[in-house]
Symmetry: C2
Subunit: 434 residues, 2 copies
């Protein structure tokens, strides 16, 4: 039975898209020439949507249209078209603060649930580059800026509640996409679930151990609880290396269709977790052991520079833009209390960032486990053809992930995280978890 869609909606294809775009003067001019000459190709390699590149005489655009179901699975798994609206809204809000780090939106069609945006070229998905061990020197500074600003400026530190709450209410409508995260990241990998898969039989034992680790499931459930109700800031909601397009000098964060108001550590942690997953996957892509030592080193340095940069930048934004209702400036000024007020601000910031770090470390762990034991895997690991080698990489990843989730409160710094990764990478033989 086909899924019912609202009036005015139809899934576009290579044939029907140009006629629609030709009705939009700005887009028509940008493409140039006759609509019949525009070249259209569907390039969506994600799990959910249609993505078209349209090239004309004068220029090009990218069109992303939501389908009423999960593309990866088919129409047995319906998914609200409104996710296109949330992506559009989130990008628009973020663009106020990080315009050069997200794609420019050229048009949004609410009936077709279609976003027309600039085509990013010659950018590639960062994950693909990392599989080929390509260094991206600009990436870390860009992601520091993107994360710090997109989170800070939508938090209660920057926004008065009267501005933040209506936004939060809007994004509360993105329930279905949040539910995917709730199920696939925080629940299924920790129980027997029909959608789970893993490298079998190699990982059967570790998968079972994870499913019966009470302490782990408790810690994961605390992270899930925060994901459900801790509306700190507008999150990207799916910030991993597959949602980032890069060149050597440019970086764009795409696809915020999972956007909602949630815990800031989720965005930050998901990115760190995906970088760690890439780190452990490198051994599966080496032609000779040690071949990618330098790249591994770069990855760990990138993780350290990302967190440390994020922390520094976020605190800097906080100190400079105290425009929200939280931590009222009046209470943290020199004045009646002398320097004590300013000292108290510094201490408040320190404690706040420590809490964010612990959240991020935990969320990093959950984002690693779901890619190995859950439904949606990553090509970082999937492209490793030798099953035994892949399982070795995955075992190391799981081992660190479990440790991060359980030990988040005890881990003193990001350098302690990368040190753990390095130690695990150096371990030969079977790696245990727990």
């Amino acid at each position: 039975m086909p899924i019912e869609t609202p009036e005015g909606y139809r899934a576009l294809d290579e044939a029907s898209l140009p006629a629609f775009l030709a009705t939009l003067p700005e887009i028509r001019d940008r493409l140039g020439g006759a609509a019949t000459d525009w070249r259209v190709s569907e390039v969506g390699d994600g799990n959910l949507n249609l993505v078209f590149i349209v090239e004309g005489k004068a220029g090009d655009v990218c069109c992303k249209q939501a389908l009423p179901y999960v593309r990866l699975v088919g129409d047995s798994w319906p998914l609200p078209l409104e996710r296109a609206f949330f992506e559009y809204r989130a990008t628009t809000i973020q663009a106020r603060h990080v315009a050069g780090l997200v794609p420019e939106i050229l048009h949004y069609d609410p009936a077709l649930y279609l976003i027309v945006m600039e085509r990013l070229s010659p950018h590639i998905i960062m994950r693909r580059g990392m599989i080929d061990a390509v260094v991206y020197p600009a990436f870390v500074d860009h992601l520091v800026e993107y994360s710090a600003k997109s989170l800070y400026f939508t938090s209660d530190l920057a926004l008065p509640a009267a501005e933040k709450k209506p936004l939060m209410a809007t994004f509360a409508g993105n329930t279905a996409l949040c539910k995917i995260t709730e199920d696939l990241i925080f629940t299924d990998p920790y129980r027997i679930a029909p959608l789970n898969r893993w490298t079998s039989p190699e990982l059967d034992e570790v998968a079972a151990a994870i499913r019966s680790d009470g302490e782990l499931k408790r810690a994961v459930s605390v992270l899930k609880y925060k994901f459900l109700c801790h509306g700190e800031a507008l999150l990207h909601g799916d910030l991993h290396t597959g949602s980032i397009m890069v060149t050597q000098t440019d970086t764009r964060v795409i696809d915020p269709e999972f956007a909602f108001f949630g815990p800031m550590g989720f965005d930050v942690g998901k990115l760190i977790g995906n970088l760690l997953l890439s780190y452990f996957s490198q051994a599966g892509h080496e032609n000779a052991p040690g071949e990618r030592d330098d790249y591994r080193q770069w990855t760990l340095e990138t993780i350290e520079r990302f967190w440390n940069g994020f922390e520094r930048r976020f605190v800097e934004l906080w100190t400079q833009n105290r425009t929200g209702d939280a931590f009222p400036p009046d209470l943290f000024e020199a004045g009646e209390s002398g320097e004590a007020g300013l000292r108290a601000l510094g201490q408040a910031q320190h404690a706040f960032m420590r809490g964010l770090f612990e959240d991020a470390v935990g969320y990093a762990g959950t984002s690693m486990i779901r890619r190995i034991l859950g439904l949606a895997h990553n090509i970082d690991l999937e492209l490793i053809e030798d099953q035994g080698r892949r399982a070795d990489c995955e075992r190391r990843t799981l081992s660190l992930a479990v440790d991060l989730i359980k030990q988040a409160k005890q881990i003193p710094s990001i350098e302690a995280v990368t040190a753990k990764a390095e130690t695990l990478q150096a371990t030969t033989g079977t790696v245990s978890t727990g």
Copy 2:
């Protein structure tokens, strides 16, 4: 300049109310006889609204209508009429779980922002009874039930996100009322603010000390931050002894116009804080020192029984009604993992309740300070005519409040809270804070 109100709204009075009620068949029948014979009296003694008691031949009702401004201050302080809608919605939602502990709503008029509800008689506001040292034996069990159920059943532990998020989005509209709490509880008492007042000169020094206590302001700001973004459950939002009507055998929680999705510890802590405030106020109402020792004892026992009962009941509801998306039952069952799953649930509940306790202890402290140094004071203390005696009571209250806020994480149990109160009460001479 009068405040503009939506079409169809007019503030009712004794003369115009009966004609309106006569248009509602159910209400007309309940009151009985001719509308012209109904006796109407305006009895609103709160800070915000009109409250009418209407008595007819056959029965009576209570009508509560929102004014477009803060009644206590006048039309210089506008306040959205929609708070009546939020009170109506919150009461309706709570009534599903604690029907006998809230007033029955008979009618809601969205144009007049008017709630018609059962008249509670011979109930009185609990605060007034406590000032007269009246023991309410049924109160604690009723409030345990009210708090545990109203919070549990609107949390992510009981509600799937798809049901909770739309509710949360609705109540996100109650921004203006939340803002009152944010300003008057979490901000103004800790800075020089035109609306602040306190017993002066007696408390001048302690008020200044609180305004310059960086550690305290930091802890209060963390509580404010949680109030702003931690949407755990539908709160009453103003749960103190002035929002509770009692007889010896019946208890009703009224006035949830501050309702929104916030941290559960806020409701629980506000109630505890107001009981502690009553405790310290008793010395100001004694004819001879020690006269009210028994009542003080009852108050502390009530506080202990309230928290311990709440904790036990909440955990019981959790164990029996695992219908929400948080802490998925699959992850905490005996099964693959044997008893470990159930043990993990117990540990999760323990840690969760500990966090809730710490929040509640902190919020209790903030709710005490705001009644002594902020705008809105309580008659518990205000009715103490002797300024010196009042200041002594207030100083003890402040001293405990500061301690609770700063030490929340170190306080092992509710008995440790009441022990601190008892020690302070026994202190003679000037009590210091800090």
